[in-house]
């Protein structure tokens, strides 16, 4: 009886928590059309278990494409660690695409752009905020919403020029002394990022 004590306690615990969970699951927003196909297919094959939710259930739907060009661009800048800008209305952004710096205004054609390390500048009225991005993707949608996804973004005034110079020199050296392709590629990436940082600080 003593040995069964813990098992008894814990099985009661899990039963209780599963009961709690079901109570709150009804607070989620309704499903969209694509999900209903999934939900029906699920219910046919597995009738006893509730189907899992999908990401669109947790997202507010995006606004449709307006007929006239809106006056402001809505920008979302997201990183794995935080959303720096979310739903901010600005006049223009300049993104560092691999094919060069690209300006995005409201009414820009829908674009998927791959980003290289460089500066993102956000223009709103007379304010310009500059962030150094480590690379990522930028989506511009037809409804004048721009999503910029990067791994790291720091405001330019927080970058230390001495460390940038040191890093640049270090990676140049590594590039010269690299023997395998992997090392060469890594050193090349380091050189690219640090030169971009350098350009960001001076330019």
């Amino acid at each position: 009886m003593l040995r069964h004590g813990p098992r008894f306690l814990l099985s009661r615990a899990s039963a209780a928590s599963m009961g709690w969970r079901r109570q709150f699951a009804t607070d989620l927003p309704a499903e969209t059309a694509g999900d209903s196909k999934f939900v029906e297919a699920w219910k046919k094959v597995i009738p006893n278990i509730d189907p899992p939710k999908t990401p669109s259930a947790y997202m507010a739907p995006r606004p449709p494409t307006p007929s006239t060009i809106p006056s402001k661009l809505t920008v979302n800048l997201v990183l794995p660690y935080s959303s720096i800008l979310s739903g901010k209305e600005v006049d223009m952004v300049i993104v560092p695409a691999t094919t060069g710096h690209m300006g995005v205004l409201p009414g820009h054609v829908a674009t998927i752009a791959e980003l290289k390390p460089g500066i993102l500048s956000v223009h709103e009225g007379n304010d310009v905020s500059k962030y150094f991005l480590s690379g990522g993707f930028a989506f511009v949608h037809a409804n004048s919403v721009a999503d910029i996804i990067a791994i790291e973004a720091t405001p330019v005034d927080q970058i230390d020029p001495n460390l940038v110079q040191k890093g640049l020199a270090e990676f140049q050296q590594k590039l010269n002394s690299a023997s395998t392709d992997v090392e060469k590629a890594e050193a090349q990436i380091g050189v690219d990022v640090h030169s971009a940082l350098n350009a960001a600080l001076t330019g």
């Binding site: 009886m1 003593l2 004590g5 813990p6 306690l9 814990l10 615990a13 899990s14 209780a16 928590s17 599963m18 709690w20 969970r21 109570q23 709150f24 699951a25 607070d27 989620l28 969209t32 694509g34 999900d35 999934f38 297919a41 699920w42 094959v45 597995i46 278990i49 509730d50 189907p51 899992p52 939710k53 999908t54 990401p55 669109s56 947790y58 997202m59 995006r62 979302n76 997201v78 990183l79 660690y81 935080s82 959303s83 695409a97 691999t98 094919t99 054609v109 829908a110 674009t111 998927i112 752009a113 791959e114 980003l115 990522g136 993707f137 989506f139 949608h141 037809a142 999503d147 996804i149």
Partner: protein
């Protein structure tokens, strides 16, 4: 310690009954009442046994309370990270849509679970959903493989789907989760597994007591192009200009890999939060149950103690009256 308690009990009982009675019957009945297989039979379950049981239940209660505190502090640490990472997958869903019902030949189900147990039912839920998805996507010429993250799902899925498990990763939470680690993991998975669609199964953290099983779908670039041509949600994809890269397929390839690593990062953080929250609830219930059990045992203990005292009294008095009369 037991002998000291025994002696204390004896002294308490012996004090009011000292003079007229010989000591021996008292001592012998004391000793015998505390032996389990006793001549007195079921009338007295030994107080010693009940006391041992109470001690162990009290220890369990302390342990589960401590585990709840630990889980609460870990949850606090990781909850802010998870909430901050929620913006990461939204642009991808806005661009590529949400297509859980896509019909492809090679499905890979990525199940995220915990390494440690005692966290309620979340791992079982994830495994049930994964099995459900496997059943849903089974069919002629279709194959469905598992990639498992975490020890608990591996233990459950190895039992009946051993041949379908492609890769298994454990000990992911030794160091706090960060994007670099997840990116390397995602790269590993994408390199070693052939896929048309990746379905990630995890528990989304809604609140400390609510965890919703969720599945996110990431399509391979070829399937994205196929769906874009077919129309529907991805039909607008062709209207997007592609900047950067040499060809559209190269950019789509990078996009898919980036999407997978972002979605995985968010999924792993949410699952870790759900794990800590579930553990808090489970340990809380355990502590409460242990408390209830302790109350009941205390009552039993007191009843047993009083019963054995009464039995002693009866024996002594009947012995005395037998001697006198």
């Amino acid at each position: 310690m037991a002998m000291a308690a025994l002696r204390r009990e004896g002294r308490r009982m012996a004090a009011p009954l000292i003079t007229p009675h010989p000591i021996n019957p008292l001592r012998s009945s004391l000793a015998s009442s505390d032996r389990e297989h006793t001549l007195l039979g079921v009338r007295s379950i030994s107080t010693q046994v009940v006391r041992n049981r109470m001690k162990s239940v009290r220890n369990i209660q302390k342990i589960t309370k401590a585990m709840k505190m630990v889980a609460a502090s870990k949850l606090r640490a990781i909850q802010t990270k998870a909430e901050n990472s929620r913006g990461l997958w939204q642009p991808f869903t806005a661009l590529l849509g949400d297509t859980p019902s896509v019909d492809v030949k090679k499905n890979v189900i990525v199940t995220i679970s915990s390494d440690k147990g005692l966290c309620g039912g979340i791992n079982s839920t994830s495994v049930k959903i994964s099995r459900g998805l496997h059943k849903l996507n089974a069919g002629p010429e279709k194959e469905c493989k598992y990639v498992i993250l975490g020890e608990k799902a591996k233990a459950q899925l190895v039992r009946d789907s051993k041949k379908d498990i492609e890769l298994a990763f454990t000990e992911l939470q030794k160091n706090p989760l960060n994007y670099t680690q997840v990116a390397v993991l995602a790269d590993d998975i994408l390199k070693n597994v052939e896929y048309d669609a990746l379905r990630i199964v995890f528990n989304k953290f809604q609140s400390v007591v609510a965890f919703v099983p969720t599945t996110s779908t990431v399509l391979s670039p070829e399937v994205v192009e196929r769906e874009a041509e077919a129309g529907g949600k991805l039909g607008e994809l062709d209207s997007y200009e592609i900047e950067g890269g040499e060809t559209k397929s190269e950019v789509l390839q990078n996009l898919t890999e980036f999407q997978f690593s972002c979605v995985m990062f968010n999924a792993m953080l949410e699952n870790a939060c759900s794990e800590q929250g579930a553990r808090m609830s489970a340990m809380d219930s355990s502590s409460r149950n242990a408390g209830d059990m302790l109350d009941r045992l205390t009552l039993t203990y007191n009843r047993t103690r009083q019963a054995s005292i009464t039995t002693e009294l009866i024996e002594i008095i009947s012995g005395a009256s037998a001697l006198e009369g």
